[in-house]
């Protein structure tokens, strides 16, 4: 008892990193299960491969760095990265897409920085974008939902052929809504007209649409997000500011020129808006820590998503927007530190007379 190593406090909350990550996994569960059902066996295979690859790469990196493998793996962060990465891939993508994306996510975006908590870019989004930039064809091969065991859905054997043989039947491919609207626009067909071809709002909210493996069901993702808020893992600041700013700017432009700009609602319920707002942009490690900073970050994401969707070459911009704002996070962090008690926002002591708030 004579060597006292630590000062207080002598009581701690029950919160741990492991518990946090686990709760996020739990929150992702409904959307994941539903989408795995929707996209069937090939999606299930890809999902398992991606997560497995992430965990394996993490283990490899840890042992290369001489760090305790089992103990660190059990913080579940690699599992979560793999999970989110899988959710952002095209559901019927071949196996190597998942593996390669996992390598870039973990071995490039996470471990050179020193592992959990040290990275500055969102690993899952790095994995996704590297693949998107490198293999645009494979990464934009969408399919319409083929629920498990429904007619026309691939069985396990066909699934193996799709995932490992790369035999995706051409007939099943389908454009994503964002991609469709974009190509139509590029040949002069106004948004108002192409909009007739995309699934209606209800379908898109429920998830009956083409899209990434885990992004389609806005409702279930929202459910998970609310659960995380209830559990106080995330706060409303980032999700609301991402979606709010996206909705706002899209709506304004839609009002001005509906032929060129899709509506706010369309942007909210297309692509990865929900998944991005609730689960990706909220990644602790790569987003600002203060609430003010989170609002700035979220608004930045929302505006960039809209900008990229409308003006850049890619049909969807969630991942790029998140990465760009990741790059700005340290600066946002520096300029949005909370005001210290008894001091002005510049750090000078408050004047005595102005003590009243």
């Amino acid at each position: 008892m004579n060597s006292i190593k630590r000062s207080g406090p002598f009581t701690h909350s029950y919160n741990t990193v492991q518990k946090t990550m686990f709760t996020v996994l739990l929150a992702l569960m409904p959307a994941t299960l539903f989408n795995l059902y929707l996209f069937g066996w090939p999606a299930i295979l890809l999902f398992c491969i991606t997560i497995g690859a992430c965990v394996a790469v993490e283990a490899g990196c840890l042992s290369l760095a001489d760090r305790p493998v089992k103990q660190t793996l059990s913080d579940y962060s690699a599992l979560l990265t793999g999970w989110l990465l899988a959710m952002s891939l095209p559901p019927w993508a071949p196996w190597w897409v998942g593996v390669l994306a996992a390598v870039f996510a973990i071995a490039l975006a996470k471990h050179p920085f020193g592992g959990l908590g040290q990275n500055v870019f969102n690993p899952a989004m790095v994995g996704r974008t590297v693949l998107l930039v490198s293999f645009p064809v494979a990464m934009t091969a969408w399919v319409l939902p083929h629920p498990l065991f429904s007619a026309g859905a691939p069985g396990l054997v066909e699934a193996f052929a799709i995932t490992f043989g790369g035999n995706m039947p051409d007939t099943m491919s389908s454009a994503s809504a964002l991609g469709y609207v974009k190509t139509e626009l590029s040949r002069g067909i106004p948004v108002t007209q192409s909009m007739a071809q995309v699934p209606d709002l209800m379908d898109r909210m429920m998830g009956y649409r083409a899209g990434s493996l885990g992004e389609t069901s806005a409702i279930l993702i929202l459910l998970g997000g609310l659960f995380l808020m209830y559990k106080r893992i995330i706060s409303w600041h980032i999700p609301l500011s991402v979606m709010g700013s996206l909705f706002l700017i899209a709506s304004i432009f839609n009002l001005v020129d509906p032929a060129h700009y899709a509506s706010g609602l369309f942007h909210l319920f297309s692509g990865a808006t929900f998944l991005g707002a609730f689960f990706i942009a909220t990644d602790y490690v790569t987003s600002p820590v203060s609430k003010k900073g989170q609002l700035v970050f979220g608004v930045g994401c929302g505006l960039l998503i809209w900008l990229i969707r409308n003006f850049a070459g890619y049909p969807e911009g969630v991942a790029f927007a998140v990465l760009l704002m990741n790059g700005l996070s340290p600066i946002i962090d520096q300029y949005t530190r909370p005001r210290m008690f008894g001091r002005t926002s510049k750090g000078e002591p408050l004047p005595l007379s102005g003590g009243k708030l």
Binding site: L100, V130, S134, F135
Partner: protein, 224 residues
């Protein structure tokens, strides 16, 4: 070869390599390494300019006053570059087409100027010439290596179009290692340039550590 020249050679090629150790001349390093051939060509052009301008600066070093030192150095480099540019255009036209915009940029490539300042402005003619030459050679080596890695991973080829650069005799160097659409496209795009350079620096460190040397932590002007 005396010990002094040995050091110059070793410094230029490895220990104090312009790209991998001093982090200078980054721009061509990134821009001209989407294939091994481009890297090689850019490196060679730079090496010629460096050797020539080191020689000239060393020759005139006693005549140049402190105040106009930089402009004169720049003038010398710029002239050499223009010379190379004109000659290449006239007599090595294929190479010229490949290297394009980046020949003029050798002028403000920080590496030649840094070597002029650090070496040629103080040392006799022959060592200066050697320094320029081997710094240039080291630069070529690094650029070719970076180019090779990027080319192999990005487009599945190695030394493609080498015959355009070096002449038909070098056709044998051109290799197709895998189908071109299997490559990781990112590697030949801007992110790949940074990535491969970073990884090669790590590689150099690993070799250095294995050889029992200390890791070099910073670039040439990292503390400003």
């Amino acid at each position: 070869m005396t010990a002094e020249y040995k050091t110059i050679v070793r410094d230029g090629l490895w220990d104090n390599n312009g790209v991998l150790a001093m982090l200078l001349g980054m721009c061509p390093t990134m821009a001209m390494t989407n294939s091994a051939t481009n890297g090689l060509g850019m490196g060679l052009a730079t090496a010629v300019v460096m050797a020539a301008s080191s020689l000239l600066v060393s020759l005139f070093r006693s005549r140049i006053t402190q105040e106009v030192r930089i402009p004169v150095f720049i003038l010398i480099v710029a002239s050499m570059v223009t010379l190379v540019d004109l000659c290449m255009n006239a007599w090595m036209h294929e190479l010229y087409k490949v290297l394009g915009l980046f020949i003029p940029l050798i002028v403000s490539n920080c590496l030649p100027l840094a070597r002029l300042e650090a070496f040629a402005a103080k040392e006799p003619v022959l060592p200066s010439f050697m320094d320029g030459l081997f710094m240039g050679a080291g630069f070529t080596l690094a650029l070719t290596a970076i180019g090779a890695v990027r080319e192999i991973t990005g487009s599945g080829t190695l030394f493609s179009d080498a015959s355009l650069l070096l002449g038909p005799a070098f056709k044998f160097m051109e290799m197709q290692l895998m189908a071109s659409d299997k490559g990781v496209l990112m590697m030949i795009l801007p992110p790949g340039g940074f990535l491969v350079t970073g990884l090669l620096v790590v590689g150099k460190r690993m070799l250095d550590v294995r050889a029992g040397k200390a890791i070099q932590m910073g670039g040439a002007h990292s503390a400003a």
